[in-house]
């Protein structure tokens, strides 16, 4: 027998499996599948198909009972039925997984499969329609197709509009975020400027405070002059030495040295020392023009003078070129 069985053989095998054959027919089938490997395989495949129908609940009541007896007659048969049950489960499970993935990518073209929910049993009703019925169905189908096409085109439009809206929304979002960034940058710069300004103001305030603090010094600066007229003396530490009292605000001291105007020199040297001999100040080669109204005026910073006894020695350049002693002046400084 060829691989492709005819319907009669198929029916024979199915009846054989369901125990519906006569003894004679059964014997023929059994002898045949034992001797013919191809036929044996066909019987096996028919048994598989019967098992599928049984497990999928596609058999009539009578056949289901017989199939149940066949597939549960022995542990071996049960194992085979269980194997097919597992296989169907695996295949369905795999299909559910793959279809859930595929559904995300599915397009409208695949939606036609959505009608597969119509039970196969409904097909039995089809032959009962007459020509008018078929025409109505045809018109209905055309209307449905038109509807689908319209919806499809609408869907495309909506998708295009939605894409445009999403694009403009995206642009707006980008612009807004850019502006927010700029604003943030400006705020940051403003903060920096404010901080700088605060620092500058603080510094200015500090400086002003320092200035204010220094102001009294400025007032006390050696602007005030204390003057004293000194006459030449002949006695060391003489009792006629004058006292120069310096106040805190005294900046400068004017010493007016009285001179004998009859004795004039071309130049004068002056030195100021303490009684211990420490030189405090000196000036050489002073012009006689400095002498006014019989007095040689010296202006010295008050800071040079401390609580001490001082002596001023005045020398004049003689005609023979030597400096000769002219006069000494004594005074005390007290603060």
């Amino acid at each position: 027998m060829s691989v492709s069985m005819n319907a009669k053989t198929d029916d024979l095998i199915t009846r054989f499996l369901l125990g519906e054959l006569s003894d004679e027919e059964r014997t023929r089938v059994e002898e045949r599948f034992l001797a013919d490997n191809e036929f044996f395989e066909e019987v096996l495949s028919a048994e598989d198909a019967l098992m599928d129908q049984y497990l999928l609940g596609q058999l009539s009541d009578e056949h289901r009972k017989r199939a149940q007896a066949l597939f549960h007659s022995s542990p071996g048969q049960k194992r085979e039925a269980q194997f097919t049950r597992d296989l169907i489960a695996s295949v369905r499970e795999a299909h559910v997984e793959s279809s859930s993935t595929a559904s995300a990518n599915s397009d409208i073209g695949n939606s036609a499969r959505a009608f597969s929910f119509i039970p196969p049993g409904l097909k039995n009703f089809l032959p009962h329609f007459n020509a008018t019925g078929w025409l109505v169905i045809l018109l209905g189908c055309l209307a449905l197709m038109s509807c689908l096409l319209y919806l499809y085109s609408q869907k495309k439009d909506w998708e295009a509009q939605r894409a445009a809206v999403e694009r403009s929304s995206q642009e707006a979002r980008e612009k807004l975020s850019e502006e927010m960034l700029n604003k943030a940058e400006l705020s940051r710069q403003l903060e920096i400027e404010k901080e700088k300004r605060a620092q500058a103001e603080e510094k200015a305030e500090e400086l002003a405070a320092q200035m204010r603090a220094r102001k009294p010094d400025k007032i006390n600066r050696p602007d005030t002059i204390t003057s004293i007229i000194l006459a030449p003396t002949t006695l060391e530490r003489g009792g006629n030495s004058k006292t120069l009292t310096l106040k805190a605000e005294t900046g400068r001291v004017q010493l007016q040295l009285e001179l004998d105007e009859s004795q004039r020199y071309s130049q004068y040297n002056i030195s100021l020392t303490t009684f211990d001999g420490r030189r405090v100040w000196s000036r050489n080669s002073m012009a006689p023009s400095q002498i006014k109204q019989g007095r040689l005026n010296l202006v010295l910073p008050a800071s040079l003078l401390e609580y001490e006894d001082y002596k001023i020695e005045l020398k004049g350049l003689s005609e023979n070129g030597d400096f000769v002693h002219v006069a000494d002046y004594l005074f005390k400084v007290r603060r």
Binding site: A35, L70, F83, I88
Partner: protein, 180 residues
């Protein structure tokens, strides 16, 4: 000597019964499976033991000098198997043991799936997996598949049966491997 003789009888018998088999072992397995199905399709409770009993008697008879017709060797096997079946029925009747057929356990199919089954399915080619999927998911698809492949519905069933046979063997091997 006797062992050699037994071995020769065994080899000759299965070469005669299954001349297309690649090996004696394969010939023996094919013959045994036919006998298993012979008893299973007669609704026997223990087709495995009955198949073994048949082969045992067959070997014993051949060793005892029984000749087997070369043109139809299975006719003798059939005769022995029929006797074994009759004895089985008699024994069953004596023992008063009724066919203990369990009600079909309508357990959810997904719960029965095991790892070996999945592994073996994954090892199948994509075409075979798709064929199985279409075959089992929608009954109406079967005609379409057969048409697409230029096959009759029965030839398609045969194809599915072969895939299932391969899967069954794969799963048995896998289970043996996992148990060892």
């Amino acid at each position: 000597m006797e062992a050699d003789f037994g071995q020769t009888v065994f080899t000759k018998l299965f070469q005669l019964l299954e001349p297309d088999a690649q090996s004696i072992k394969e010939g023996f397995q094919r013959c045994r499976y036919k006998l298993f199905k012979f008893f299973a399709w007669r609704y026997c409770e223990d087709p495995d033991n009955l198949a073994d009993e048949t082969i045992s008697r067959l070997l014993k008879n051949v060793r005892g000098g029984q000749e087997i017709l070369a043109d139809n060797p299975y006719s003798y096997v059939y005769a022995i198997a029929s006797n074994v079946f009759k004895e089985y029925l008699r024994a069953k009747k004596k023992g008063g043991v009724l066919l203990d057929i369990d009600e079909v356990r309508e357990t959810p199919v997904a719960a029965a799936v095991d790892d070996c089954q999945k592994q073996c399915l994954e090892q199948l080619s994509r075409e075979k997996r798709e064929l199985l999927a279409r075959y089992y998911l929608d009954d109406d698809e079967r005609d379409a598949i057969a048409q697409e492949q230029g096959l009759s519905l029965n030839a398609l069933r045969l194809q599915v049966h072969r895939i299932k046979h391969g899967l069954r063997r794969c799963r048995e091997d896998c289970q043996k491997h996992s148990m060892s």
